[in-house]
């Protein structure tokens, strides 16, 4: 028997008996999933930290760090802006702010969140298998990671707005609840796609391919008005209302209640499916990855 070292004593005082009675193995799958969520909330700091570490590691050793992302997206916006304003016969001054915002919202917002949600649990394979941590913690990690990348990229449309002396006004505040909705949807995507993609490895590329199609059929590089009278058909595309609730306020418009209504309804349905699937798959997930 050796005397416990001072550090372990301190540990003992600060983190006293955390889960005195672990009741995870008991209860229905839904109760266990709920316990998973409660544990995730308790450890949220760890989730945020893992998200930050992912970013830091991705850019370790590069002087500009995550600002590389900013530079690439600036280049992308500049080149596409010049080309497509020609193709669409539009003024660069009206087209470029729209394009820079849409493209950023899509590529580092919706698209990357969905794509990365697919590998949510697969990427954490080692940890899931050897450390007892709640699974939803990895969903927090993916959402945080994407939020950080988003914050680095949103600089590009902001710069374009400054160059063209545009100011969205007070309406822009409405983009904040919309972005929160995105974060919640992203969390749900991790629950749904994260577990599905762990079981069936071909879903990840399928999701990627579908996102590519969505990119072209959603008004991202083209404006909804260009459809003319058929623009109302856009509401059938679930990504349009989701994009619009963030984009419209930032461009200074108010999104219609209809658009918000559709976005909220879709999200609620999506959460319901995601939560159901997570409850069903959670206990098996560790065997799949």
């Amino acid at each position: 028997m050796s005397a416990p070292s001072p550090a372990s004593d301190a540990t003992r005082d600060e983190a006293p008996r955390r889960h005195t009675s672990r009741d995870t193995p008991r209860g229905s799958p839904a109760a266990r999933a709920w316990a998973d969520w409660k544990e995730t909330r308790r450890l949220w700091r760890l989730g945020v930290r893992l998200g930050w570490l992912d970013i830091r590691l991705r850019y370790r050793g590069s002087a500009l760090g995550p600002f590389w992302l900013t530079i690439t997206s600036a280049l992308m916006v500049a080149s596409m802006g010049v080309l497509y304003s020609r193709l669409f016969h539009m003024q660069l001054a009206t087209y470029l702010p729209f394009l820079s915002l849409s493209l950023t919202l899509w590529s580092v917002g919706l698209s990357s969140l969905i794509q990365e949600s697919c590998t949510c649990f697969l990427d954490a394979e080692d940890m899931v298998r050897s450390v007892q941590l709640p699974l939803l913690l990895y969903a927090v990690r993916v959402v945080v990671r994407n939020a950080i990348v988003f914050a680095h990229n949103i600089v590009v449309p902001l710069a374009v707005f400054v160059i063209y002396h545009l100011w969205p006004g007070i309406n822009a505040v409405l983009a904040i609840p919309a972005l929160l909705l995105w974060a919640l949807d992203g969390f749900a995507a991790c629950m749904l796609f994260g577990s599905l993609c762990a079981r069936f490895r071909d879903i990840t590329p399928i999701v990627g391919a579908l996102l590519q199609i969505v990119f072209y059929v959603t008004p991202i590089i083209w404006m909804p008005q260009q459809l003319g009278a058929k623009a109302s058909l856009l509401l059938l595309n679930p990504f349009y209302p989701l994009l619009e609730i963030v984009r419209a306020p930032l461009l200074g418009h108010l999104p219609s209640l209809q658009v918000w209504g559709i976005a909220l309804t879709l999200s609620v349905v999506f959460w319901a499916i995601a939560i159901r699937s997570f409850i069903k798959t959670r206990a098996r997930l560790v065997f799949w990855i």
């Binding site: 028997m1 050796s2 005397a3 416990p4 070292s5 001072p6 550090a7 372990s8 301190a10 540990t11 003992r12 005082d13 600060e14 983190a15 008996r17 955390r18 889960h19 005195t20 009675s21 672990r22 995870t24 193995p25 008991r26 799958p29 266990r32 308790r42 450890l43 700091r45 760890l46 930290r49 893992l50 570490l53 590691l57 370790r60 080692d126 940890m127 899931v128 298998r129 050897s130 450390v131 007892q132 941590l133 079981r199 069936f200 490895r201 071909d202 879903i203 399928i206 206990a283 098996r284 560790v286 065997f287 799949w288």
Partner: protein, 265 residues
């Protein structure tokens, strides 16, 4: 009261490989099998056979029941694939099963993998900070932990280099130093903790013994029977997912050794 109760616990898991990983192939196989079932069987359900996309289920544990109460030192023996590690992971809460009743009272800590939860790209120090965050430690506790682990693992300059550059012995040192920090009431330990680098071993032994002494319940798997004889009061002998024998350490180990002598493992 600290205890572990298992009542008729069974656990099976899927072995997914090749085309069972593919959604397309799984759907196709399912379609094929429903056609076959309609045409071939009357009433009974036919299983998909001779198809590579069939999911193979492995029965890792079947009807395992035992009770461990406070103060017991339990060793798990059995040859490879007998279900020892699965059982340990189940007790640690990493695996879950719907079959049977598992009742654990007391905080558990599992020493399953020396590099559990470590990120190879991070330095040793950063991994310690991550570990502290996982344990919910405050700032001062984290600093103390850092000093303690740095001194114990004795990695020198490597402490501030990414873990992926470590030799396997070095990463075991770091992993060991970290994993032995908590003082749980239920300690679950896989056999790698007994092994390790010769120079490191005396130091490691003292630290591990401190941890074991502080725990109310110890469950350990090992092939090193001498260590089990020394440490354990009770041995559970696992064979193909079932408890073959459960009793006082010396009795079970003698029977186990006798069995080993007959069938070489």
């Amino acid at each position: 009261m600290v205890h572990i109760h298992l009542d008729e616990i069974s656990l099976s898991f899927p072995v997914l490989h090749g085309s069972s990983r593919s959604l397309k192939k799984t759907l196709l196989a399912r379609a094929k099998s429903t056609v076959a079932a309609r045409t071939g069987a009357v009433g009974g359900r036919m299983r998909i056979s001779n198809d590579s996309s069939e999911v193979v289920e492995v029965q890792a544990l079947s009807d395992v029941s035992f009770k461990i109460s406070g103060g017991e030192r339990v060793g798990l023996v059995g040859h490879n694939g007998a279900g020892k590690s699965t059982l340990l992971r189940l007790l640690a809460g990493i695996y879950e099963t719907g079959e049977g009743v598992l009742d654990i009272v007391g905080d558990t800590h599992a020493l399953i993998d020396p590099n559990a939860g470590m990120n190879g790209e991070l330095t040793g120090r950063e991994n310690i900070q991550l570990f502290a965050c996982r344990m919910g430690m405050g700032r001062t506790a984290t600093q103390e932990l850092e000093r303690d682990v740095e001194a114990f693992s004795d990695l020198g300059a490597f402490f501030d280099l990414p873990v992926r550059l470590y030799s396997s012995g070095m990463s075991v040192r770091l992993g060991f130093a970290l994993a032995t920090v908590p003082r749980p009431r239920i300690l679950l330990m896989d056999e790698w903790f007994m092994a390790g680098d010769q120079k490191f071993q005396d130091k490691a032994k003292a630290r591990l013994e401190g941890m074991v002494d502080a725990a109310d319940i110890l469950v350990v798997t090992s092939h090193a029977l001498s260590i089990l004889r020394q440490w354990c009061t009770r041995i559970i002998w696992m064979e193909s997912g079932e408890v073959r024998m459960d009793g006082p350490a010396d009795d079970v180990l003698d029977a186990y050794e006798a069995a080993l002598a007959v069938i070489p493992v």
